[in-house]
């Protein structure tokens, strides 16, 4: 069978199997081609992408002070390194001498002397490659990764602190809030899930009530509520808006994490618990050493999905006046110099969101495949 015949057969089977199918194909193919053509022609002729490129800094860091730009770049560098290392957990890095990385750093330094932004960007890409390859070279680093994230995030907070928390913004802030909220909501979520399965009826009722009420309320309301209540609780301490918003996210998403964890706990056969009990382990020992490690494997993909959920809801922080990536875009839109280029700006923002979501989804899929290995 030749290629042409194969193609004809594929078309007949997948596009013209029935009159109805043929009608669908004949409607949608020209429609798609027309729309795609219009989009391409527009983006190469009418579209003025300088509305995006001129405001790239606003998109990335919001109103971060110009003279402290290196701090923002350095924190992105740390994020890239840690992100690359995390990627190394799920995507096996190649074993070859680090020529590419060293070359990348040299090129980045060379470029940085001419155009700092390009140099920094290249340095960040290289850093993520270094993290990725490093994970393959020294597998022992895996255990230290959680510690690395902790130190890295504290380091980033210290790097960015001199600018003042109210000046954090743009995509950088979106990423930081996502990371912190995803990490901090896990301990509370696990506690709630364990409480919901506790032997004590009181703990069960309280945890179930918390989870159900939180899940019945909109996040935007929780964030706003925490924002107004926090200053009443700490009258002497001025808590920055970003910390209050973060607390709202943690309280809200902990309820969701609790439900994911609960489904993971339920997936552990009760024979495991009974076997552990018959060996004389205490209930806290059983939870820690028997149930949680097995549940983690089931819960992990859902928790990565939760990271994407958090990232996609960070724009709600507009309600307490924070400038995340989306609000930065809205700021660019109301700017009269670039405001008329609505479609360019929205297209750019959609593309960035999709790109980040694809990375997270890809990681989640790989993680799922990895964890499934050796699973009954």
């Amino acid at each position: 069978m030749t290629g042409a015949q194969g193609l004809a057969r594929w078309c007949r089977r997948n596009l013209f199997a029935s009159p109805f199918d043929a009608a669908l194909t004949l409607t949608f193919v020209p429609l798609c081609l027309w729309a795609l053509g219009r989009l391409l022609i527009w983006s190469f002729t009418d579209a003025q992408w300088h509305a995006v490129t001129d405001n790239l800094r606003v998109f990335m860091v919001g109103t971060f002070p110009l003279d402290m730009m290196w701090r923002a770049w350095a924190s992105v560098l740390v994020l890239a390194l840690l992100g690359g290392a995390t990627m190394g957990l799920v995507v096996t890095p190649p074993h070859h001498p680090p020529v590419l990385q060293v070359g990348g750093f040299l090129l980045a330094t060379a470029l940085g002397t001419v155009t700092p932004a390009l140099g920094w960007t290249l340095a960040c890409v290289t850093a993520s490659l270094v993290g990725w390859a490093g994970m393959g070279m020294w597998p022992g680093m895996r255990k230290g990764l959680g510690f690395g994230w902790g130190v890295g995030l504290i380091g980033i907070a210290m790097l960015l602190a001199p600018a003042g928390a109210e000046r954090w913004g743009g995509l950088l802030m979106s990423l930081l809030v996502t990371l912190l909220a995803s990490i901090l909501s896990v301990p509370l979520g696990v506690a709630l899930a364990l409480g919901r399965r506790s032997r004590f009826a009181s703990a069960r009722i309280i945890c179930t009530g918390y989870i159900e009420v939180m899940r019945s309320l909109p996040l935007i309301l929780i964030v706003y509520w925490v924002w107004i209540v926090m200053p009443l609780l700490t009258p002497d301490l001025q808590v920055p808006d970003i910390a209050r918003g973060l607390l709202g996210f943690v309280l809200f998403f902990a309820a969701y994490v609790a439900e994911y964890v609960r489904s993971g706990l339920q997936s552990v056969p009760c024979g495991q618990v009974e076997a552990a009990a018959s060996l004389g382990m205490s209930s806290s020992q059983i939870s820690r050493d028997i149930v949680l490690p097995q549940a983690t494997r089931v819960v992990m993909p859902a928790l990565v999905g939760n990271v994407l959920d958090i990232f996609n809801t960070v724009p709600l922080l507009f309600i307490i006046g924070l400038t995340d990536f989306l609000r930065a875009g809205q700021m660019v839109l109301v700017n009269p110099q670039s405001g008329s280029r609505t479609y360019e700006i929205y297209l750019f923002m959609f593309a960035v969101y999709l790109a980040i979501a694809s990375v997270i989804t890809y990681g989640s899929r790989r993680l799922e495949a990895r964890l499934a290995v050796g699973h009954r």
Partner: protein
């Protein structure tokens, strides 16, 4: 452990020691329980005291009387509930009326969006498993695009980049013989009372509709109910049909007649419908794929066509499975109406924001709004559960 072994073990321990151990254990458990309760009560008490102290620090007390005070601000759309029915909300209405108007807007948006999103989502879900390659790819792209970008960016996109970019009222063209789409809103043909309507025709129309609804619910007496409804409708037409269709008319800058949807409502409705439809589509697809292949094969062996197998074998089973998952999506949709504040739609959260600004009662107002959302969530999950249990009962055991 075997029952015999246990007996042997127990028999070596005196009975009173055993019961004493049990009592001690029970006491310890009760002690732990009360410690948990005490801890939580203490936490809540600390929280309430701190909030009180914080409020006192700022010179305000906890006070719900703001609800009966005059709102004093304008709400772009919404109704006040009075003893004489609904009327347009005005700035002289109370804060409670304003919040209620917002809540009605929330309910209105959520209920229309739930109907539309179920239809669109089911359609896309079926397209996801279509035999047609291009339809499959398009629906896959739609679902991925919608699920992987924030709802808020979709909402502001629909509002600022689509609805507000529609032509102005003067240049707006009329679609399908009566729909006007302009940046001032979308206008549909509506149903209104005909001028020559008589009581008899109105009553017979109502009776006909009631019988029609009854015929859908009662399978056994369907023929009789359907016949009765036809007779009643015929009487209604003969005595002068009480309703008429009114098409919207543009008079300068004002549109009269028909239903109107404000730009904010339109954008929120489209945003919610499209966003939730992607999730509904995945639920539908998952349920169809999860159906045992034997069902399809058995239908094919009986000589049913692909479409007949789908309509008569697959769909009835799928809808039994997906309803609880749909319910979760409906609740999430109802909660997401709160994003209307980003485009200025006066839903309950948006109205609350204005009330809190005007009266300074943000903390008291939040309690009211939280209650509103809790009630909404519970009503939706309650009705889905009810529907689900009825569906399962009608469908027999499974």
């Amino acid at each position: 452990m075997d029952r015999v072994d246990q007996f042997a073990l127990n028999s070596q321990i005196p009975a009173d020691t055993l019961s004493a151990t049990r009592t001690r254990r029970q006491l310890v458990r009760a002690g732990k329980q009360s410690l948990i309760v005490l801890g939580v009560v203490a936490l809540i008490a600390w929280f309430a005291m701190s909030v009180r102290a914080g409020l006192a620090h700022n010179g305000i007390g906890f006070d719900m009387r703001f609800l009966s005070q005059v709102a004093g601000f304008d709400i772009s759309e919404g109704y006040a509930v009075t003893a004489h029915g609904l009327r347009r909300i005005t700035p002289s209405d109370s804060n409670a009326q304003a919040l209620l108007a917002g809540f009605i807007n929330t309910i209105k948006t959520a209920s229309v969006a739930i109907v539309l999103t179920t239809l669109l989502g089911t359609l896309v879900g079926m397209a996801r498993i279509s035999h047609n390659w291009i339809v499959r790819q398009l629906s896959f792209g739609f679902v991925e695009l919608v699920r992987n970008t924030p709802m808020l960016i979709q909402l502001v996109f629909w509002y600022f980049a689509v609805v507000l970019k529609l032509p102005a009222m003067a240049d707006a063209s009329t679609w399908f013989g009566g729909v006007i789409a302009s940046q001032q809103g979308i206008f549909f043909p509506g149903v209104d009372c005909a001028p020559g309507a008589t009581l008899a025709s109105a009553l017979s129309l109502l009776a006909g509709l009631a019988l029609l609804a009854g015929s859908a619910a009662h399978r056994k007496r369907r023929k009789w109910l359907l016949g009765g409804s036809l007779v009643a409708l015929a009487v209604s037409v003969a005595t002068g049909f009480p309703l008429m269709v009114t098409a919207p008319h543009v008079n300068g800058f004002v549109v009269t007649g028909g239903f109107s949807a404000s730009p904010e409502f339109t954008a929120l409705l489209i945003g919610l419908t499209v966003y939730t439809a992607a999730f509904i589509a995945e639920i539908v697809r998952g349920a169809i794929v999860a159906l045992p292949k034997g069902q399809w094969e058995a239908a094919a062996a009986l000589g049913l066509s692909h479409r007949a197998a789908f309509g008569d074998i697959v769909v009835p089973q799928v809808f039994r499975v997906v309803l609880p998952a749909f319910g979760n999506q409906y609740i999430s949709l109802a909660k997401t109406t709160s994003l209307g504040i980003a485009i200025g739609f006066p839903d309950v959260f948006n109205v609350y924001g204005t009330v809190a600004n005007q009266s300074g009662r943000s903390l008291e107002g939040v309690i009211v709004v939280m209650l509103a959302y809790l009630v909404l969530s519970w009503v939706i999950s309650g009705s889905v559960n009810l529907l689900n249990s009825r569906l399962l009962r009608n469908g027999g055991t499974r």
